[in-house]
């Protein structure tokens, strides 16, 4: 960075600091580390969705080869992983609750021998009847296995009047169910980790989003202080939430293996192993009951939100909460009742995935709104715009929208670029051409006062005598560009070139805990702490060497009650509008996306190029979720297990996108920036389905919707304007 660049607006794109090492191939990923004397581990997992382990028949283990299982947990240690809840077992013990549950590790010096031994292990089960889908879970198929009712977690929100009373005075009360499926993260780099004993502590190298989460999660296995575990993040090749808690499932068993053998132990998943045996986006089912007057105006809405949590709760209650908070989308409705149910099933536990529960309910409300509009013969955009939420309006948790909502400005940008109004009028339903629109938001950072009450983020900055400055916090680079924008923020505040700033992949023994790299919080929360630290360093610049520390402080006057979920859930939302245009081949049902236009409000942008990357990736990942990314769970087994049958979009599938932004600086963010990484995923799927549904003239209530499904809708689907 040259001095001149510092005088430009911070939004001006700069070359990513990791660009060269990643394109040259010199960046060191976890499987690139070479530790002498390190053992290989392979996981042995449950092959049945539900059952009692009757017997484990092991081959004779040669010298230096080990079987590591729950029985090796030392006295005082716990057989669980702490991932918000503590129900996820480190190793299955006695019974198994899902296909892929960890039973043990085979560990040894030669990886071929380890694999040969693993293939010889025979596990005998007494199989039980599994519940796999949401409906089977709710019906307690095979008998309840969680809480007597298979409901892991539950919440209820109400605004305005009691909806049942309002329904009585409605002209009509309609019901509609909207469903969404699994989604696999398909990070470029599959999961992998090493655990190396060093003196009286253990060092973990992992491809991971949240180094401090790993420490906290696995320390109970050996009943040791988390400080005795040092986590060093290796260069991480993508995550999307799939490496927020899931690395714990590798690291817990590796820690025990290192304890048992006294040696370093490493484990890497191949792609099929990773798809079959890792967490996914929660499948969902949202049942709306909406009360309308004779003109089709919404008087009350009741929504029941069901998420398929899988066998263990882990972090899913928080996902469900976010889902329920976002069920009103970008709208204010007069009277609402929302109930969320986290359903226990015998499937691989679901976990974080870009959007963290919000995309499911946002897809549901957008789609439901379209169907209400069409049923009353109103253009969907016109219908939706009657309910747009504004600054000061009530949210689903009886808080207020704090910031200015720039939906009208964003709408104008995308309408003009896409020529939406003309096309919406011209493309008659069922003629093979369609244009669709969706509105969405994403609450930035942890819910309510969670940043202050739970995370208590800290950031340090160290000035060295030679004028270099080191940023110390636990935020990770995983491809999203964070380790470029943070030095950029510091450089702009300090007025020094970015080359003078050191910002390394976190090592928990060196950096303070600034919280997880998740929840669209890193830029708005930690970026702000870095900005403040840099301001302090600048004031003391003449001192030779010193360190400053900044702490998160929640702004006053925005109360939140975590026990009742009432109040200001989020201080800053990202907002988005997306228009998608499609054409359908009448012979085959193949869909060609002709155009994608979006506008996003991420506050004041820190780096335009990085933001463009987020928009391009997020929007297409959202359309993939809604279209080709079919992931079926058949009797507890994922049916699609490779990149050739789990169909993520390619760059050939979509045209060049046009993206717009609005300038809406966020009061408490660095340089006015707020969260954006998840927002960009949240609405493109709904816009795509709206367009597709208009093109074929049929109502679509479930995603994904691949080619063959489009054909079935064309043949047997319900007409788009039919009454709900």
């Amino acid at each position: 960075m040259i001095a001149e660049e510092l005088t430009r607006d911070i939004s001006t794109a700069m070359r990513r600091l990791d660009a060269v090492e990643k394109s040259e191939g010199t960046a060191k990923y976890v499987s690139d580390y070479d530790f002498s004397d390190c053992l290989w581990a392979r996981m042995v997992r449950s092959s049945v969705p539900r059952g009692i382990i009757k017997n484990i028949k092991l081959p004779k283990m040669p010298e230096d080869y080990y079987w590591v299982s729950a029985k090796d947990i030392p006295e005082g240690g716990h057989n669980y992983l702490h991932m918000i809840a503590t129900d996820w077992k480190c190793f299955a013990d006695g019974d198994v609750k899902y296909v892929g549950e960890t039973i043990g590790l085979v560990v040894g010096p030669d990886k071929t021998t380890v694999e040969d031994l693993r293939e010889q292990i025979e596990i005998e089960y007494e199989e039980q009847e599994p519940a796999v889908s949401i409906d089977e879970g709710v019906a307690c198929k095979g008998g309840a296995f969680v809480n007597g009712n298979n409901i892991h977690c539950h919440l209820k929100l109400e605004t305005g009047e009691n909806v049942e009373d309002v329904f009585k005075r409605c002209d009509k009360v309609v019901e509609e169910t909207i469903e969404t499926g699994y989604q696999e993260h398909i990070y470029l780099e599959t999961n992998g980790a090493c655990c190396i004993p060093e003196g009286d502590h253990y060092v973990i190298y992992a491809s991971a989003q949240c180094p401090f989460y790993i420490r906290k999660s696995i320390a109970p296995v050996l009943n040791i202080d988390p400080d005795k575990i040092v986590v060093r993040q290796a260069t991480t090749g993508g995550a999307f939430g799939g490496k927020e808690h899931f690395p714990d499932v590798l690291c817990g068993p590796l820690l025990l293996a290192a304890y048992k053998t006294g040696k370093g132990v490493k484990m890497f998943f191949d792609r099929e192993e990773d798809i079959e045996n890792s967490v996914k986006r929660h499948p969902s089912k949202v049942v709306f009951k909406t009360g309308l007057d004779k003109n089709g105006n919404i008087l009350a809405m009741d929504s029941k939100v069901y998420y398929n949590v899988g066998a263990y709760l882990a972090s899913s209650f928080v996902v469900l909460q976010r889902g329920c908070f976002h069920v009103t989308g970008c709208y204010e409705f007069p009277n609402m009742r929302t109930e969320g149910f986290g359903v226990a099933t015998n499937s691989f536990p679901s976990c974080a995935f870009r959007g963290f529960g919000a995309p499911q309910t946002l897809f549901a409300i957008e789609t439901h709104m379209c169907h209400l509009a069409e049923m009353y013969g109103v253009e969907p955009l016109e219908y939706k715009s009657r309910y747009f939420i504004k600054q000061g309006d009530n949210t689903s948790t009886n808080g207020k929208v704090v910031e200015r909502v720039m939906i009208p400005e964003m709408l104008e940008q995308v309408l003009k670029a896409s020529d939406y109004k003309r096309k919406a009028k011209e493309y008659k339903y069922g003629t093979g051409k369609g244009i669709g629109i969706a509105f969405y938001n994403h609450g930035g950072a942890f819910t309510g006062n969670g940043e202050q009450a739970i995370i208590k983020a800290k950031c340090r900055m160290h000035k060295y005598p030679d004028g270099t400055v080191e940023i110390l916090n636990s935020q990770t680079e995983m491809g999203q560009g964070f380790h470029t924008i943070i030095p950029k923020i510091a450089a702009h505040v300090l007025g020094i070139p970015v080359e003078k700033i050191i910002y390394k992949d976190p090592d928990t023994s060196r950096v303070p805990d600034s919280g997880p790299t998740a929840a669209s919080r890193s830029t708005m929360i930690v970026g702000r702490l870095v900005e403040k630290a840099a301001q302090q360093v600048k004031e003391r610049w003449n001192e030779k060497e010193f360190e400053v520390e900044t702490h998160y402080e929640h702004p006053d006057g925005f109360p939140w009650d975590q026990s009742t979920f009432q109040g200001y859930a989020y201080l800053g939302y990202g907002w988005g509008v997306c228009v998608v245009e499609v054409e359908v081949d009448p012979c085959t049902g193949e869909v060609t996306t002709k155009g994608i236009w979006s506008s996003h409000d991420g506050g004041h942008l820190i780096d335009e190029l990085i933001v463009h990357g987020q928009v391009n990736g997020g929007v297409i990942q959202g359309i993939g979720w809604a279209s080709t990314e079919v992931l079926q769970n058949v009797k507890g087994h994922f049916k699609q297990t490779s990149m050739s049958d789990y169909i993520v979009p390619t760059s050939m599938d979509y045209p060049k996108q046009e993206c717009f932004f609005v300038e809406n600086p966020y009061e408490w963010g660095p340089f006015g920036a707020k969260g954006l990484g998840e927002l960009v995923f949240n609405g493109s799927g709904a816009a795509y389905i709206d367009a597709l549904s208009r093109a074929i003239g049929k109502r679509i209530q479930s995603i994904p919707c691949p080619t063959e499904q489009v054909m079935l809708y064309m043949l047997n689907g319900k007409d788009i304007e039919e009454a709900l």
Binding site: K111, T112, D270, T588, S644, M652, D653, E708, L715
Partner: protein, 304 residues
């Protein structure tokens, strides 16, 4: 685990000699075999028989036209080579051009695509359509057999342990027809496996009756489907709506898709209807349906 014994002959004669005494698995591009035999990261694939790699046999890497004017494609020619050669009939080039991803097309071979005998094999629909034959050679013998007979059923070939597929001979090309059609419904627009592929070709007599009509479909049963009986319904007659529907109905009875049957049947019906009703209009454009996305230079244009 035992190590796999691997042969790497340098000439066809050496390969046939090895085949005469060793029942070796023949590996050309490896894009099917290395995947189906892989173990986890960093481990060598394990085969239960010796492997003979024929990738670089010069005799198997040529594309030529024989004295009868038939296109002969060496069994170890890659999809990329086939897609780029205008000697190769249009339908075959189309299929080679959209097989998998670029990297795969640089290694996968036509011999391998046939030998894999998958109902989804990309080149099989065009090869069935154009009466293609495989040449099988052993130390002692040489024979030719129709691809459609060579693939006996799902993953099963009419081949003897000492025989090697050396060439694929395609006797017809787009020049033998007035109108051609090829449509692959892939899982996505690139790097895709076929959900269904329909290949068609038609030639009129001077009096507007149909001289020749051919239709094949992949991924619609345990092997690629083509039926002379169905084609004969329309041959010698003028195309009309009733006749089109008769062809559609008859072909529907030929195919037996197990997964996604409604989709596969209906899209096949609609594609046949589209092709035949377009042909009946005698449009100037002789390519009724093709892939309009990225293609290898020269891969897409027909040579009439």
């Amino acid at each position: 685990m035992e190590e796999t014994k691997c042969y790497m002959p340098e000439t066809l004669a050496q390969a046939l000699e090895i085949k005469s005494r060793v029942d070796a698995i023949v590996l050309a591009g490896g894009s099917d075999l290395m995947v189906s035999h892989k173990r986890t990261i960093g481990l060598t694939p394990v085969f239960d028989r010796p492997v003979m790699i024929i990738r670089n046999l010069p005799e198997l890497r040529k594309i030529r036209v024989n004295e009868k004017g038939e296109c002969c494609i060496g069994a170890a020619c890659t999809s990329a080579e086939i897609a780029a050669s205008t000697l190769v009939p249009w339908h075959v080039r189309q299929a080679a051009n959209r097989m998998g991803a670029i990297g795969l097309r640089n290694s996968a071979t036509i011999g391998g695509n046939i030998a894999n005998a998958s109902p989804k094999g990309d080149t099989l629909g065009p090869l069935y359509l154009l009466d293609a034959r495989v040449k099988l050679q052993s130390l002692k013998s040489e024979r030719e057999v129709l691809v459609s007979d060579f693939i006996v059923k799902f993953k099963t070939l009419d081949i003897k342990p000492d025989e090697l597929i050396t060439e694929v001979i395609v006797p017809y090309s787009e020049r033998d027809f007035d109108y051609v059609f090829w449509h692959k419904v892939g899982t996505r627009k690139a790097n895709a496996i076929s959900k269904i592929t329909v290949s068609m070709a038609l030639k009129f007599n001077k009096d507007d009756t149909v001289k020749d009509f051919r239709l094949s479909a992949t991924a619609t049963g345990s092997k690629t489907n083509r039926s002379r009986d169905v084609e004969n319904i329309i041959i010698g007659k003028k195309i009309d709506t009733a006749l089109i529907e008769k062809v559609i109905q008859a072909f529907d009875e030929v195919i037996s898709p197990r997964a996604m049957p409604e989709f596969r049947r209906e899209s096949t019906r609609r594609m046949i209807r589209r092709f035949l009703s377009e042909c009946a209009r005698h449009p100037n454009n002789r390519v009724i349906e093709t892939y309009d996305g990225y293609h290898m230079p020269g891969a897409i244009d027909p040579v009439f």
